[in-house]
């Protein structure tokens, strides 16, 4: 399943890029499983996603929690709590 990942603020800086397209295997069906798969790839992702409770997620521009189901071609935004206004 191909997922477009986009990162913002501290997450973007830790990972060192603002986004990437990833092909996940069939064991990845939800946001939490995508994070687990990415953390297994190395130190950078482990640091960026070590405290998912302190992160926020958006699937196709809508806020979701880590149990949200992914779909082919989805855009998953991963970022810290927002601080606008």
């Amino acid at each position: 399943m191909n997922i477009r990942l986009v990162y913002f603020a501290r997450v973007r800086e830790t990972i060192g890029k603002d986004g990437e397209t990833r092909e996940f295997d069939s064991s990845v069906t939800c946001v939490a499983e995508a994070l687990t798969a990415l953390r297994a790839e190395g130190e950078t992702y482990r640091i960026a996603f070590q405290e998912p409770e302190k992160l926020r997620f958006a699937l196709d521009h809508q806020f979701v929690d880590v149990s949200a189901k992914l779909h082919e071609g989805a855009e998953l935004g991963i970022f810290p709590p927002v601080t606008g206004g």
């Binding site: 913002f8 970022f79 927002v82 606008g84 206004g85």
Partner: protein, 142 residues
């Protein structure tokens, strides 16, 4: 209708207010809120946002305000990019027949925007941390 805009450029409250109320005969109240950059002289603040999602969330918040109150019109402008101390960041303008609805809707828009609009502030000390008090303020409208 409450229009929403995301832009790098500054905005002028008087110009936007005049545009919103021009030609209208049923607006009895216009509430305006402007958020400014705080800090010491020479400080800068950089605002990052999530293009696409930001516009969508601002419009969703505006639509919810229209659903809750009888409003004549409104405007939400939020800036991004590099700003200096004293620069305006965000504008909420709400027009209604009476002040009660206008004040409440403007308050609501800012409270929801603080927790739902995907913007992130970075200053000289690094990324600004989200405030728990903002979540509490937003909760009172649920």
């Amino acid at each position: 209708m409450i229009n929403t805009r995301v832009q790098a450029e500054t905005f002028d409250v008087a110009t936007e207010s005049a545009r919103l109320t021009s030609g209208s005969r049923d607006i009895g109240a216009l509430v305006s809120f402007t958020g400014l950059v705080r800090g010491d002289a020479g400080d800068t603040l950089t605002l990052e946002h999530y293009p696409g999602m930001t516009e969508r969330m601002l419009q969703e918040i505006a639509t919810e305000a229209e659903r809750r109150w009888a409003l004549s019109g409104g405007l939400v402008v939020h800036r991004y990019g590099r700003l200096s101390v004293g620069d305006p960041i965000v504008l909420v303008l709400i027009a209604a027949r009476h002040r009660g609805e206008a004040f409440e809707a403007a308050n609501f828009l800012m409270d929801w925007l603080k927790v739902k609009a995907p913007f992130w502030k970075k200053d000289a000390d690094g990324w600004v941390e989200a405030q728990g008090s903002d979540d509490v303020a937003a909760e009172r409208w649920s």
